[in-house]
Amino acid sequence: MTPGSRQRPSRSAARQQESWLRSQIGLIRLPLSLAVGAGTFAGMLMIAQAWFLAHVVNAVTIEGQNLAGVWRWLVPLLGIILARVLISGFVDSAAFAAAARVKQGLRSALYAHVSALGPAWMLDQRSGEVANTLVDGVEEIEKYYANYLPQSVLAALLPFAILVAAFPADWVSGLIFLVTAPLIPIFMIIIGKGAEALNQRQWRRLSRMSAHFFDVIEGLTTLKLFNASRREAEVVARISDEYRGSTMSVLRVAFLSSLVLEFFATVSIALAAVYIGFRLYYRELDFFSGFFVLLLAPEFYRPLRDMGAQYHARMAAIASAESILRLLQTPLPDRHANRMPLPPEQRLRIDFEGVSFSYDRDGQGVQDISFTLSQAECVALVGPSGAGKSTIGNLLLGFLAPQSGSIRINGVDLQDLDEAEWLRRVSWVPQKPTLFYGTVGDNIRLGAPEASEQAVHAAAAQAQADGFIARLVLDYETMLGDSGQGLSGGEIRRIALARAFLKDADVVILDEATGALDRPTATRVMDAVRQVASRSAVLFITHDLEAARMADRVITIERGRIVARANPREPGLRKDLHAGPATFEEVGL
């Protein structure tokens, strides 16, 4: 059961989500029919089992036969038991196969769609949420196909089959079944709706209470600092006690629904038994038929009761379908139909011509950016954080499209270029580099999977990463856990640098390449960048003025606009660039 942290979908939305869930059935008709078919067959075998058992009991009780007289019933009974067990084991596997096919297809589709939506879209999302949809959201769907769907079909088929068998044997009991059976689902729906709302509210309250408790634990140090931690113990006790009080008053009502259910199922069996008994007594019925029907009675209500347990699976699947659908229905960005190849010139020349872009979420962005960057030069973009430097990087990568102005590559608008072909020429170290699940070597090879070991080592040395990699347990073969767990920010950055250097691209975009590096390492990294800039075009984004000094040109961005252009080798630059205390020495130590 999921605590109700998710909002309960509105009824029409829920209906839409469920119809989408049902539309997937087309893909899994075969395994699903197999599951339902096997379940129905197992149900028939159950009826046959009751029939043979009733014969045995009838023969012994009424006809006074001994064991020898009933073997002809007992032997087929054993066969039926074995067959029933075999078949019912098959139902779950078949149903799971159906669910697995949906899950696998859905996950691929989601990944493809998310990839197509691109990094710019991803910036607006909480990546944890997207990942949750792809992993847990898809898993939640499983129960809908593996349990809920087959069960709901069986809940209609099996009681029907039992009715068909029971009516000819004893029409009075059949009538009792027939009258009470619809009452169960009707009551389940009537009460289920109210109880479900209560239940959801209760789960929300529980998760709130848990949240409070863990909030207190998380802030225990802070509580202690204010000498308030003992006070809080009473609050914990009081809140959980209040929770118990409110929960129990809800449960007293909520459990009434199951009381009604139990009542119908149990009392119907009792009624059937008493009626059968009296009709046997007055010889209106033969014992065989009466016993057969009584054996069927508990089985008649069982699938209907099992359905109740599937309600949560269905609700959870609908809630997940909502987030899955939201992802899948996000429209893909427009692409030009005909994309042009890159002009086959030797040197690349990049022109930003009055480029403006603003994020619709908070109006921040860049305005009227113009500059030129060619191969074999390094341009540094400096400025305070949030000034728009990384936005310029994202524009050059093509992740964002200028809203006015254009970015021209050898005269061709970047928007008209074939994206894959353009990115083949580009390397990039983002502000927060990502290390992927795999070895250190795999991570460096990301852009050049076929690169030789020597090339990888050389790139690592260039990025000042060889030293610490050599100290890892398995050096280049060390597996990196969750997003580089165990590595420091500086180490992650240097692996990302090695990755960028290994690709040997014509355009290299480095966003805070020296962040989290100590000064001597940063200096050596800068030397490597200079070396790269002797061949490639380097866009060097930084707020480290020291590092920017090695660039050929420095462009200062503030609040999305270019406020200064300078050649770092000219004296007096320091003051132009920055007003506040930039380095330690100015603090007066």
Binding site: L53, A100, L295, P298, F399, L423
Partner: protein, 568 residues
């Protein structure tokens, strides 16, 4: 087993509730079997007397059948109420107990668990302990009692059938679920690993979507995720098969028990030892007795998980507090200068000295900056001062009173702390502030916020001071949250101020606001500031550099500090 006993001891005060819940579920189980068995016997007897073969008083059993149906329904309702009530009582007891154990340990005793996932670990563990009674204890005990009661009843009719039935129940309720659990353990563990790998890869590809594009690795990563998804499904299929085959075997055990019981009882009836109507009773009895053990497989499945959770929770709760309070309480100091002399401290006897001969003096009202690379002992210094950890050698005193002569609560009443990790509770801004001074008036709260330069922003929220902080309600920016913790320090108005990276993780604008607020806060207070931001050091009178638990003796120039990576 030891852990189970300890859990039971913990739950001891609620034994009456727990026993009542179990008793009711026994009533439910037994009345169900009795209802069906009696019905079988009743119709057989009615048929026989209808044929004139025997005389039969049908009023009593007919009434009993109806009575049992009603008994079962009502008992089921009461059982659910009582077991849930008991569960909620236990949940409350567990939380209060755990909090009580944890409180003296924090934060020192928890340091070694601070792997970030401690909290989610505790959360999951407490959650699974919450269900110990409802999912494990109650079903297992009531199944055991019901089984014994049923077999005892059956042994009056036929010893052989009781034996067969018992064997079947043992197989279906105990042996097969345990075997299923055992053979499911390895694929289960593999499934957890695969799922974690899948989650990590998916998270990576979301976070690194841009890099995958630039490096042409989108399809490669897609194939990788696809392969992991297939592996996950394969593991799950394996588990479904294992569980499915064992539950089929349990079903087989039930049906075969019934089959054999019928074969055993027929000659006995034919010999006239038992009345013919008993056959119907036996068939129904054996078949329905297996409902009694139906919930056991699920109970066994969560048992291992719950025991592991209990073990981890007990391990945390059993730690010893590291800084003990003195037996006799001294009066609070009257001056607030800080003195340390040759102070030595380590976190465990085998660890290196975290502080290795620290001597320093901070005159009352002065501010001392502490810089040094991470791991140099800066935070340890604060841990010692706040009595979160004890030290092993040397001296430390506040206003001439030895630190060890004061209780932790006394020391902490003298100190206000602003740290990067300062916690804002998931409550209103007002409640977060009142923590520092429960008696503060509205005006005092506003004044503190004004001093911390956050009043206008707080008042701009629609709910003002009653705005919720954190997950629910409005979210504060990092800078706003930090300034609210500063306002809290204003309200506390303690003579000693400890600042631990107070501007870490803030953007430039917020940093400036926080610095201004700190400047006001530090007035007339003895202050220790840990930082590696040069801007913060403009606020202090003196700076010491820590390296490997020692104070760097001579004057250190800025270039050297930069070279050390101490400072950017």
């Amino acid at each position: 087993m030891k852990d189970i006993l300890r859990l039971l001891r913990l739950f001891h005060p609620y034994r009456a509730w727990m026993a009542a819940g179990i008793a009711l579920s026994v009533v439910v189980a037994l009345s169900n079997v009795a209802l069906l068995a009696l019905s079988g016997w009743f119709i057989a007897s009615m048929a026989l007397s209808g044929l004139g073969n025997q005389m039969f008083n049908f009023f009593t059993p007919a009434a009993a059948i109806r009575g049992l149906a009603i008994l079962r329904t009502i008992a089921r309702y009461l059982e659910r109420l009582v077991t849930h009530d008991a569960t909620l009582r236990l949940l409350s007891a567990l939380r209060v107990w755990f909090y009580g154990r944890l409180e003296p340990l924090a934060p020192a005793g928890l340091q070694s668990y601070r792997d970030g996932d401690l909290l989610s670990r505790i959360r999951a563990d407490i959650d699974s302990l919450d269900n110990f009674y409802l999912r494990i204890l109650a079903p297992v005990v009531s199944a055991a009692i019901s089984t014994v009661a049923l077999l005892a009843a059956m042994s009056f009719i036929s010893m052989e059938v009781a034996l067969i039935n018992g064997l079947g129940l043992l197989l279906a309720g105990c042996a097969l679920p345990l075997m299923a659990q055992r053979s499911g353990r390895r694929p289960g563990a593999r499934l957890v690993t695969t799922r974690a790998a899948l989650r990590a890869s998916v998270t990576d590809s979301c976070r690194g979507a841009g890099e995958l594009r630039v490096y042409g690795a989108v399809d490669r990563q897609g194939a990788h995720i696809d392969a992991l998804g297939r592996a996950l499904v394969a593991d799950q299929r394996h588990l479904v098969r294992v569980r499915g085959s064992y539950s089929s075997l349990s079903m087989l055990a039930a049906l075969i028990s019934m089959w054999i019981a019928v074969i055993v009882i027929i000659p006995v009836i034919h010999a006239g030892v038992l009345a013919p109507a008993q056959l119907a009773l036996v068939a129904f009895f054996v078949l329905s007795s297996f409902d009694v053990v139906a919930s056991l497989p699920a109970a066994f499945q969560s048992l291992g998980e719950t025991l592991a959770a209990a073990r981890r929770i007990f391990e945390i709760a059993d730690a010893e507090p590291v800084a003990l309070d003195p037996d006799e309480q001294q009066p609070l100091p009257e001056r607030f200068d800080i003195d340390m002399d040759a102070l030595q401290m380590h976190y465990s006897p085998v660890a290196a000295w975290a502080l290795d001969g620290i001597s320093l003096h901070v005159p009352e009202g002065d501010a001392l900056g502490i810089v040094g690379p991470s791991g140099s002992g800066k935070s340890s210094l604060l841990n010692v001062l706040l009595r979160f950890w004890d030290f092993q050698d040397g001296k430390a005193a506040i206003g001439g009173v030895p630190l060890r002569a004061l209780t932790g609560e006394q020391v902490r009443s003298l100190c206000a702390v602003v740290a990067q990790q300062s916690h804002l509770f998931n409550a209103t801004i007002r409640e977060n502030l009142l923590l520092a001074r429960p008696s503060a008036s509205e005006e005092e709260l506003r004044e503190a916020l004004r001093q911390a330069a956050v009043l206008d922003e707080v008042m701009a929220f629609p709910q003002g001071l009653d705005t919720y902080v954190g997950e629910v309600g409005a979210r504060l920016s990092g800078g706003q949250a930090r300034r609210i913790t500063i306002a809290r320090a204003f309200l506390k108005n303690a003579p000693i101020l400890l600042l631990d990276e107070p501007t870490e993780g803030l953007d430039e604008l917020s940093e400036q606001l926080v610095l201004n607020a700190l400047k006001r806060l530090m007035r007339d207070k003895t202050t220790l500031v840990i930082t590696h931001h040069p801007e913060v050091l403009t606020l202090v009178d003196r700076v010491v550099v820590l390296r490997a638990g020692r104070i760097v003796p001579s004057y250190v120039g800025a270039e050297e500090l930069i070279a050390e990576g101490v400072c950017r």
